[in-house]
Symmetry: C2
Subunit: 231 residues, 2 copies
Amino acid sequence: MKVAMIGTGVVGRTLAGKMASLGHEVVIGTRDVQALMARTEIGRAERETFAAWHAANQGVRVASFAEAARHGEVVFHATNGARALDALRSCGAENLNGKVLIDISNPLDFSRGFPPSLSVCNTDSLAEQIQREFPQARLVKTLNTVSAPVMVAPESVGGADHQVFVSGNDEAAKATVTDILKSWFGWRNVLDLGDISAARGMEMYLPLWVRMMGVLQSPMFNVRVVTQGSS
Amino acid sequence: MKVAMIGTGVVGRTLAGKMASLGHEVVIGTRDVQALMARTEIGRAERETFAAWHAANQGVRVASFAEAARHGEVVFHATNGARALDALRSCGAENLNGKVLIDISNPLDFSRGFPPSLSVCNTDSLAEQIQREFPQARLVKTLNTVSAPVMVAPESVGGADHQVFVSGNDEAAKATVTDILKSWFGWRNVLDLGDISAARGMEMYLPLWVRMMGVLQSPMFNVRVVTQGSS
């Protein structure tokens, strides 16, 4: 499938690399291709420069936000939450309309240091902001509740028996995303939380996630939903 | 042990009843004892009037907030989040100072209907507000992430293999609460998230919990934290 990845951080790289390895035609989008390839700074949580990552992942093409979005039959969004709306505006609504848009971002605000707060929450969410700005994009929120390595390898924790959430207003889009999560990445348990306003809960889970990461001293974890019937 | 329960809703009743059945001397506190006993209204999530509940739980003594708090060697707080600070002020700081104060409440705001939003979140939490107002109370936040029946019977879901969180600034108080959770209620996995600011994440988990409850059509669930080592 022709896939766009908007965002070149750890999440964007991890998913783009995984999808290219599965044979998909992946274009990763950035604001300024030359600046990205020339960048020597290594960001928080990154292991290497983008250029070094790309040298090992040449199956992924690097292009502008708009060119990547135009290419994608499905568009993943994984920029820093603070830049999300700007990045998607640069993609152009005409390149998002009618497409399944998969939002993985979190509105984390590091301006007061660590741990981060959220730049939007409670009676709104970043996903709802995106849906309001791009009403014709078939938005699905997912994967924002786990770290990048877990997103593409759920079997790496808890024997793959744990949950990833989806929310969105378009049932067919959620079905497409559920199929992608299962058949591309190996997720077994996809829990549909309803319409896109459920993204509030998915994003507001992050402060708890950050605390658990600190206690567990690793981002390699997730939660399994247990009920009366489960053991 | 002499235990105070501040709050007479479903959580207060469930915990008070359980602790009395274990042989503890439980006093449940309310603003106006006569008004509570005379009340015929049955609140959201309640199964019966307080008087009907109390007729079946006569081991629990009913008293004013202040009298209950004065009685307790350990004080549980489980009022409606919107009334929390007022209720604790009525208890009197002199009846809370130096004691382990266990906060189970959530700052749920139903003023815009269901699902609720939070009246405080992100850069603050209800637990932190309580700690600031009662700096000499040895505050521990816990149990707010599960429904009342699960609080006192963790074995009712997932074979008791799931997590309850604790946070607070007083390590000895957290040790006392951890012992209570394990030896009174049967919790096996108590995850210490650190200082009281971790209550932000514990309270901000509620919107996700509410959504999961809707999807699962039951409040009888919890989450198990799975890691690389767990299966």
